[in-house]
Symmetry: C2
Subunit: 205 residues, 2 copies
DNA sequence: ATTAACCCGTACACCGGTGTTCAGATTCGC
DNA sequence: GCGAATCTGAACACCGGTGTACGGGTTAAT
């Protein structure tokens, strides 16, 4: 963790003092943690949640848009990182998919709410592309691999299948939030659903 | 159409003048049509879209909350009405489901965006119950029927299956909006997906 | 220890959205 | 045609959120 931040600091640009870096991290963390609620993504709340004054927040992120952008990029980086750790390109695609579904839907959910906020403030096109490349792209690649090996169905547009997987991961998080699903169930349920929907031979009679 | 409005007027309460009723209808229509965009649900925009002055809007709906509530109830009524016309309780459940998926996802989408707006302004509990009863309830009943006849799987919580169907209907609308799906495809795709996911025997090996 | 970088509270201007008021024009119902 | 109901534009107060400015206190780096 410290390594990555070190790297970010080094890569990004100018040399910051330790306390400044600490503030930035706290703000970004708060922004990520704060988003999952409703549309309430206001600077005041985030500053408070980060234990930082509003003025300090504006010192690092001069505008709301800048903060949303930074938070979203960080969230996407975290998601991509989590996917990488799962080695989705190894083993049978069905098993890789199962691994992903059981572990990542929690991260994806946080990510999604933030993305929703972002899509109202940032320019759609550029952002959408970035998102598709780093998050949906991983799912897409996995599904494509499964189709190549004959594990997954090919009678529906791949984009639709990707959207389905992504959406169902979010639904799991939503229902867990609403108490309609227990944390223990969620992984099994979403995995069973997606696998049975993606398997070759699922096509209707 | 005129009949229903007549009925509403009669049922609701006091006797309004024709032009007043016309305004109310225009406002409600505009509210329904206006919601599907983003979170932009402001009184000013709706008044303009309805071809009515802002003051008039406030004369009929004293507060934003009141308007959201009225619009949502109307949307739910329309959805329920559409479901009723489909005779979901007749014939094999699989066919009824197919009928529903092919025809109603468009209505459901408009409904959902409005619901999203509403969930931020109205009290969650009461509203959620009303929604569950009039919209999700129909899907739930249909799935239950299919389970009784042995057509649908029973190894997953019914609430989860209902959520899945509802969510996928919305995803279809979303992808159509984004140009990732054509209007011609959408019905087939969503139907094929849901049916193959719900069929008994879909359980993973 | 010194200095520059950083953080803080307060206060202010600004904007968009909400709701209200009023006086005058229009239109429906009888 | 008359009267009451309705619609309208304009103006205003209010609120929450954004972004800025200032002066003084604190902390990290050398």
């Amino acid at each position: 963790m410290t390594d990555r931040r070190q790297a970010e600091r080094g890569a990004a640009g100018r040399q910051r003092r330790a306390d400044a870096q600490r503030s930035i991290d706290a703000i970004l963390d708060a922004a990520l943690a704060c988003a999952p609620s409703d549309g309430g993504f206001n600077m005041t709340a985030i500053a408070r949640a980060a234990g930082v004054s509003r003025v300090t927040l504006y010192a690092h992120f001069p505008t709301r848009e800048a903060l949303v952008d930074a938070a979203l990029r960080r969230a996407m980086a975290l998601t991509a990182e989590a996917f990488d750790r799962l080695r989705l390109d190894e083993g049978p695609a069905t098993e890789a998919l199962d691994r992903m579904l059981r572990s990542s839907w929690r991260i994806v959910e946080r990510h999604r709410n933030l993305y929703q906020v972002a899509s109202r403030t940032l320019s759609p096109s550029e952002l959408h592309a970035y998102h598709a490349e780093h998050v949906l792209g991983q799912i897409d690649a996995l599904i494509a691999r499964g189709q190549d090996t004959g594990e997954f169905r090919t009678d529906l547009p791949r984009e639709w299948l990707v959207g389905t997987v992504y959406t169902l991961m979010h639904l799991a998080a939503e229902q867990l939030n609403a108490g309609q699903l227990t944390a223990a169930q969620a992984g099994d349920v979403v995995s069973a659903t997606v696998v049975s929907l993606l398997r070759r031979g699922s096509a209707a009679a």
